[in-house]
Amino acid sequence: MTQRYVGQAMKRKEDPRLVSGTSTYVDDVVLPGMLHMAIARSIHAHARLKSIDTSKAKKLPGVVAVVTGEEVAAHCGPIPCAASIPDMKNAQRQLLAVGKVRFVGEPIAAVVAEDKYIARDAADLIEIDYDTLPVVVNPEKAMDPASPRLYDEFSDNIAYRFAFESGNTEEAFKNADVIVKERFINQRLAPVPMEPRGAVATYQMPDNELVVWNSTQQPHGLRTLLANLLRVPENRTRVIAPEVGGGFGCKIDLYAEDGLVGYLAKKTGRPVKWIEGRRENIAATIHGRDQIQDVELGLKKDGTILGMSVRSIADLGAFHSLFTPMIPTLTGLLAPGCYKVPALKFDQVGVLTNKMATDAYRGAGRPEATYLIERIVDVAAQKLKMDPAEIRRKNFPQPDEFPFKTSGGVIYDSANYEVALDRALELSDYKGLRQKQAQLRQQGKYMGIGLSSYVEICAMGPSTALPGGGWEAGSVRIERTGKVTVLTGASPHGQGQETTFAQIVADELGIEPDDVVTMHGDTARVAAGIGTFGSRGTAVGGTAVYLAVQDLKEKMKKIAAHLLESTSDKIELGIGKLMVKGDSGRSINFADVVTAAYNAVNLPPGVEPGLDATRFFEPSNFTFPFGTHVCVVEIDEETGEPRITKYVAIDDCGNVINPLLVEGQVHGGLVQGIAQALHEEVVYDENGQLLTGSLMDYAVPRAHDFPEFELDRTVTPSPVNPLGIKGVGEAGTIGSTPAVVNAIVDALSPFGITHIDMPVRSEKVWKILKGRKAS
């Protein structure tokens, strides 16, 4: 195979329709007779429902149906949770609240009407009488047996405990010269894809055929879940994910509204559409992060790490969405980061509170790990008066130690952490930065340099690690004209699989990417799939496609050998042709082999007509991308604003199919990770009222918040898949957050500051500066 396209910065095949406004997102789907759904939601964080009066809503002209909890629960299953932890309390929720509400924004009633304005008016006419209950929003308080309980059937609000110990931490701390301790708050975030959620459903009788358009990251998984929930045969259920406007993890789940449009389409016999408003999106689409971590690290005087203890409280919110109880446990697996931590004790409780559920948000449990280890290592460096780069270097496992089994219980596939660190130091001119910092400090100016050496768990994942399976399916069909159709279960939402998969297939078959079309996002077209999340699209989905192409190549070689009177082991694929190795005169055009496969009059014995192959790829392990980021901040003395003046990111995601797309993923990830450090936070008050309920209050970052990022890569192929890919969807988010906070703490270290909780907004820094002036 000649690599003509893999590794090239090709423009995306999907872009012409996206820049022209001709692509189809869920809200662009219009069907004859379509009704519009609106939801009446709880205004209280915790209350019993005394009565729901829908009579005024039903009388409004244009309203077709109004439904409430009991009716829907009699016909539909609850919101599914696929995750399971031993002795877990399963906090289940019905599509519409029955008896009780547990968070602001919980759906109580659904209206369908002839247009969306009438549906909204009618939802506002529903009169709900609440009997309010005491609210608990602080997870530490929620753990107290005396605090209000969310579920009458549970003895307390602790949903699960996940604890393990590797090595002997007691011994490690006894032998330590230095022990550093810190409490880190990893605040609650809202994913905020630019396209909110949305769904359209039709239900055709008498075949009981359900067709759903849904802005989902996993059409096949949603199909299975919806079929079960709505009690429709799965083989009569079709899910289409058309253009999906961003996901970041929050579009993996099955939400109440996804089930309700299906139920109401069945009930009314007409198509039903629901499009989420942004305020609904922030209140009732899953949130991410939200962990309190008490971390202790024991080290020798020279900076060698001996052991670590992490006690973590994960705020799960009010119920279990698809992966809610699983996500925080990933923090334990990745807690050692890219260091040798011989002894690790991890003890986590998952706690129910009167807030929206948490679940997978870009990074999903791993940013929380990277943040705690990268922060505590910096705290240790500060205490030991070591350079942050040197304490990191000292504790890296060496390249010849891979595959490397960690005290988190996972096996890192391949890495060279030191090379990435050195490249980051070189590209950022780290020495020069330190000199500049010293000079500025003498002038009374505060600049900080933050490092973050990260590793992450990607290419989710082996099926043993992912509820519902961690494989991916890929089909490749060479059509009679030689055009190639690729079908992938890894349904993308901006990642560019239509382009990268065409690059892979074009190189393997010696054809042009323009001759390859990748289809996805429709369960009627693509036989099976898992989806795109956990940086798995190319590493797992791309590998399934690659394997299917290998099958076709073998078949084409057999046909070519037959036609060239040779044997298939002597045939190789060139550009546009198949030829006998070492005999350039004996070749046959690619197109002629394809024609022979379909005309089927001169095929070798035992070879079936056609060129169509499907493969399922089951990875043997996760992959572990890594890198080092360097962030430089300057503190505005007047306002306290920490301004990022330089940002260098060295990422190693293994082999690269398209560097343009890899860069794009890193850029987007950096912005999301930096925004956690500086801006974003979902805030509920003590009554469980959402204070950051619109984009006027929830601080999604803007273009002017960032400098131009400087990127580079090291390349360490993964041995887990034949393409050597590690995945890059979450790297930027995981690596960047601690780099920024480390830089701010570094800037303020002359004031004796060892930690500042996120988001580090101007106000927090200004108070520190003001305190200094006052003293």
Binding site: D15, V19, Y117, P193, M194, E195, L661, G669, L695, H704
Partner: protein, 162 residues
Amino acid sequence: MQVKITINGKLYEKDVEPRLLLTHFIRDVAGLTGTHIGCETSICGACTVLANGLAVKSCTMFAVQADGSDVVTIEGMAKDGRLHPLQEGFWEEHGLQCGYCTPGMIMCSHQLLARNPSPTQEEIRSALDGNLCRCTGYQNIVKAVQSASRKMTKAPKVAVGD
């Protein structure tokens, strides 16, 4: 109320509720779904269109306020099957991923380049402050606008919506 709105050179006339948003007029009455809705509070800019040459957020403007206006949406940018330099710029510089914010970004950038044909990076970032993107980290969006700026200042003036 009866309104007449010209969108991409075509006149649309309809009796609408006074509360109908311009964005719903564009999407539901004219059937032009390239204009997206992202926030309902004028913050995200996904719904940005040009009304009489000015970039406006069509989710917080009533159709009746646009009565008599000349509106250009993303569908009006390409001419004779050729992409506008801004559309080309976003494609060439990988200025989009999921594509949802892109039409609004392009319409807002169009206004910027009409006012300031050769903006600095800082000016581009500042001009796009009313448009949110959750995928790209903005860096390639800046490059896309720079690329369009270079093309448009070299080439004869590219008119839009006529």
